[in-house]
C-alpha cells in the first residue's frame, strides 16, 4: 500500500480529514440506508425492483473518500451506495426511490436511476454496462477542458462480459483518459456465479487487453480500496490513462426484490458475513484503541438517526404533480 499523496486527497465529504471514524460513518450511512429501503420495499412503498448492496459498502466509500466533488462517477442500478458516498443528499435518494417530488430525479427515475449531477453522480444505469461509455465521455471533457477531474465508473463482475465494457475501457486507454473502472466483484451476476459466465478468475487481468494497470484489492477493506484508488487517481491526473480495479466483495442480500438465494453454496454467506467491511473496520478500530467501542456505538446511533430522519422527510413529501411528467423531455 502506498501512502496517500496528500495534495491529491480531498477532505471527506463532511469536511473532516479522512479517518477511520469518518469511513465507518460513511459505510454505515449506506448500510442503514439500504436496510431502510429493504423495509420500504417490503411495505410496498417502492415500485418495480430495487437492488441493494449490503456488504459492498467499502468500495464506494473507499473510492469516494479520495474524490473531489468535481470528480464524476457513474454506477449501476445497485448504486445507492455509490451515489450516497459521492455526496448526494440522503433524503433526496430516499425520495427518488419512493417516487416523490423531492427525489433526486423528481420521482421520474426510480431506484435504479439515482443521479445527482451537482455532486458529480452522473447516473445509475439500469442497462448493464451502458454507463461505462458515459464515464468515458465525462473523462473526455476533463481532458479537453483540462479540469483535472477524474471519472470513476463502478460496474459489476457480470458487466465485464458485455460489449460496452470492452469498448469503453479500450477507448479510455487509447486516449489515455482519466477514468477509473472499479469492478465490484460480488461473486454473482444475478444468480450466476462468476465462474459460470467468465472463463478467468481474476477480472483485473482483463486490463491486459488495454495495456493498463489491473489492480486486485480486497473490496471489504475500505482502507485498501482507498489506497488503490489514490494510485489510480495519480495515474489518471498525470495523463497516463485509466486503471482497472477489481474489488473483491460479496452481496450479502438477494440480487433484487424476492431472491431466496438458493444458488449460494451452504456456508458461503456466513463466511462472508465474518468479512463484513463494517465489522472489519470496527474490529480494527477497537484493536488499535479499546476505547473505540463506545465511540462506534455513538457513530452508529448518529447515523441511524440521520437515516431515519432522511427517510421520514422523504416519506412526508408528496408524489410529483402528475402534469410534471411532460417536463424536461424536449426543451
Amino acid at each position: 500500500m502506498t501512502e496517500p499523496v496528500d495534495e491529491l486527497v480531498p477532505a471527506l465529504r463532511h469536511g473532516a480529514p479522512s479517518d477511520s471514524s469518518q469511513l465507518l460513518s460513511e459505510m454505515l450511512r449506506i448500510r442503514f440506508f439500504e436496510e431502510e429501503v429493504q423495509q420500504l420495499f417490503s411495505l410496498n412503498l417502492v415500485r418495480g425492483s430495487t437492488h441493494l448492496m449490503q456488504g459492498q459498502e467499502a468500495i464506494p466509500v473507499g473510492v469516494s473518500s479520495v474524490l473531489f466533488k468535481t470528480d464524476t462517477m457513474t454506477c449501476t442500478y445497485r448504486g445507492h451506495g455509490a451515489v450516497l458516498a459521492k455526496g448526494a443528499a440522503m433524503d433526496a435518494c430516499f425520495g427518488e426511490i419512493l417516487g416523490r417530488a423531492g427525489g433526486l430525479c423528481k420521482g421520474r427515475g426510480g431506484s435504479m436511476h439515482l443521479t445527482d449531477v451537482s455532486v458529480g453522480a452522473l447516473g445509475s444505469n439500469a442497462i448493464v454496462g451502458a454507463h461505462l461509455p458515459i464515464s468515458v465521455g465525462a473523462a473526455l471533457t476533463s481532458k479537453l477542458r483540462r479540469t483535472g477531474s477524474v471519472s470513476v465508473a463502478f460496474l459489476g463482475d457480470g458487466a465485464t462480459n458485455i460489449g460496452t465494457f470492452h469498448e469503453s475501457v479500450n477507448m479510455a486507454a487509447v486516449w489515455k483518459l482519466p477514468v477509473i473502472f472499479v469492478i465490484e466483484n460480488n461473486q454473482y451476476g444475478e444468480y450466476s456465479p462468476v465462474a459460470a459466465t467468465t472463463p478467468i478468475s481474476r477480472l483485473a487481468d482483463r486490463s491486459v487487453s488495454y495495456g493498463i494497470p489491473g489492480v486486485f484489492v480486497d473490496g471489504n477493506d475500505v482502507v485498501s480500496v482507498r489506497a488503490v484508488t489514490i494510485q489510480a487517481l495519480e495515474r489518471a491526473r498525470s495523463g497516463l490513462g485509466p486503471t482497472l480495479i477489481e474489488a473483491n466483495t460479496y452481496r450479502q442480500v438477494g440480487h433484487s426484490r424476492s431472491d431466496p438465494g438458493a444458488y449460494r453454496p451452504e456456508g458461503e454467506l456466513d463466511a462472508w458475513l465474518l468479512k463484513d467491511p463494517i465489522l472489519q473496520l470496527q474490529n480494527a478500530m477497537i484493536a488499535s484503541d479499546p476505547q473505540a467501542t463506545s465511540h462506534i456505538a455513538l457513530v452508529r446511533e448518529q447515523v441511524k438517526l440521520e437515516v431515519i430522519q432522511a427517510r421520514d422527510r422523504a416519506l412526508s413529501w408528496p408524489e410529483p404533480p402528475v402534469e410534471a411528467r411532460f417536463e424536461d423531455v424536449y426543451s
Binding site: G99, R108, V128, A130, S192, E319
Partner: protein, 327 residues
C-alpha cells in the same frame, strides 16, 4: 382436461412441450437455467433438459442472439431469452441486421428457425429503461415475425407456433400480465397460428383493436359502453407482423368505426400503421374518423401516478368511443 395456470407459468410449459417433441430446441439466456429465469418463467426446464439444452449465458445479449442465429442456421431451433425487452437495444444489430436478413441475403440457402422471447411493457414501476413497448422498434425491419400474446392460451399457442416456425419470431411477454390466469392446453397439436387475430368480443358500433394490457382495458371499456347502448367489438391482433388486417376489416364492415388503443407512443407504432392501412385501403368503410389512443410521447416515468397517466386508461377508451359513435 385442463388446469388453471398463470401467464408467467405457461411459458415453461410451452417451452418444455416443444423441447420434448423436438431435440433441436434449446433455450439460451441469462439465468434461464439453474435459476429458472429472472421472472421465474423457465422454472423446471434446467432440471428436465439439463445444461446442454438449457444454457445460462454471460451478460452478453449480442452473443446470445448471434449464437442463437449461428445455431439456427446449422440445424438447431433455439429459443433465446432477452430478459427485459428494453435490452433489445444492446442487441438490435443482431436482431435487425443479422437474424432478420440472413435468409433473404443469402438467397434463401437456409432458414432461420429461432425464437427470441422478451418481457415488455409498463405499469409496474420498473422505470424508463425497463418498461418499453420495444415491439415497435422492429416494425420497420422486414424479415421478423412479431407476436404479442395477452392470454395464457395465446401465449402457449403462439410460443409453440413461434418455436415451430422456420422464420425468426419475436415473442413479447408482457410483464404486467404475469398473474393473468388461464388453462393449460393439454395435448393440443394445433396451436394459435401466427398472423391470426382473435375476436375477443363482437360488436356492431365500434371496433376496438388492442393488444396485451390494453386488450383488457378495451374489454372493460366495452362493458361500460354496453351499459350506454354502444356495442363495441374488441379485436386482439395477437401478432403485429404479419398483421391480420382481414379480421379488423371484417369487423369494420359491421361497425364502420375504428378505435385503436396501444401501449406505445404514436410515432412509428403498430397502431398508426394499422390506421394508415385501413384508411388507405378501406376508406369507404369508415363512417367516422378513426381514433388512435396511444401512450404519451415521453419516456415511461417511474412515479406511480405518472406511469399510470402515461398508459391509455379505460376512461380514455370509453370517452373516445362515445365521441366516435356520436360522430
Amino acid at each position: 382436461m385442463t388446469d388453471l395456470i398463470n401467464y408467467r407459468q405457461i411459458i415453461a410449459v410451452a417451452i418444455a412441450d416443444a423441447m420434448r417433441i423436438d431435440p433441436d430446441v434449446i433455450l439460451i439466456g441469462e439465468d434461464v437455467g439453474a435459476a429458472g429465469g429472472a421472472f421465474k418463467t423457465t422454472v423446471g426446464l434446467f432440471d428436465e433438459f439439463g445444461p446442454e439444452r438449457v444454457l445460462d449465458t454471460p451478460i452478453s445479449e449480442q452473443a446470445i442472439v448471434g449464437a442463437a442465429l449461428g445455431a439456427a442456421i446449422t440445424g438447431m431451433r433455439p429459443v433465446a431469452e432477452i430478459m427485459f425487452a428494453d435490452f433489445a437495444g444492446v442487441c438490435f444489430d443482431q436482431i435487425a441486421n443479422q437474424v432478420a436478413k440472413y435468409r433473404y441475403m443469402t438467397g434463401g440457402q437456409v432458414s432461420v428457425p429461432m425464437t427470441i422471447r422478451m418481457a415488455n411493457g409498463a405499469g409496474s414501476g420498473f422505470g424508463a429503461q425497463h418498461s418499453q413497448p420495444a415491439e415497435n422498434w422492429f416494425l420497420n425491419v422486414p424479415g421478423l415475425k412479431i407476436v404479442v400474446p395477452a392470454t395464457v392460451e395465446d401465449l402457449y399457442g403462439l410460443l409453440r407456433s413461434a418455436i415451430a416456425d422456420d422464420n425468426p419470431v419475436l415473442v413479447f411477454e408482457h410483464k404486467n400480465l404475469f398473474a393473468i390466469k388461464g388453462h393449460v392446453p393439454y395435448g393440443e397439436t394445433e396451436f394459435v397460428p401466427i398472423g391470426v387475430a382473435a375476436v375477443v368480443r363482437t360488436g356492431s358500433d365500434v371496433t376496438i383493436v388492442a393488444t396485451q394490457q390494453m386488450r383488457y382495458r378495451a374489454v372493460e371499456a366495452a362493458a361500460i359502453l354496453e351499459t350506454e347502448g354502444i356495442s363495441a367489438a374488441v379485436i386482439d391482433p395477437r401478432t403485429l407482423v404479419p398483421f391480420d388486417d382481414a379480421t379488423v376489416i371484417s369487423s369494420l364492415q359491421e361497425t364502420s368505426r375504428l378505435l385503436v388503443v396501444q401501449e406505445a407512443p404514436e410515432s412509428g407504432s403498430w397502431g398508426a400503421s394499422l390506421v394508415s392501412r385501413v384508411v388507405t385501403g378501406h376508406f369507404e368503410l369508415l363512417d367516422a374518423p378513426p381514433v388512435l389512443i396511444s401512450a404519451e410521447n415521453i419516456p415511461v416515468p417511474y412515479a406511480a401516478d405518472m406511469e399510470e397517466a402515461w398508459l391509455p386508461s379505460v376512461q380514455d377508451i370509453v370517452s373516445a368511443a362515445r365521441k366516435q359513435c356520436a360522430y
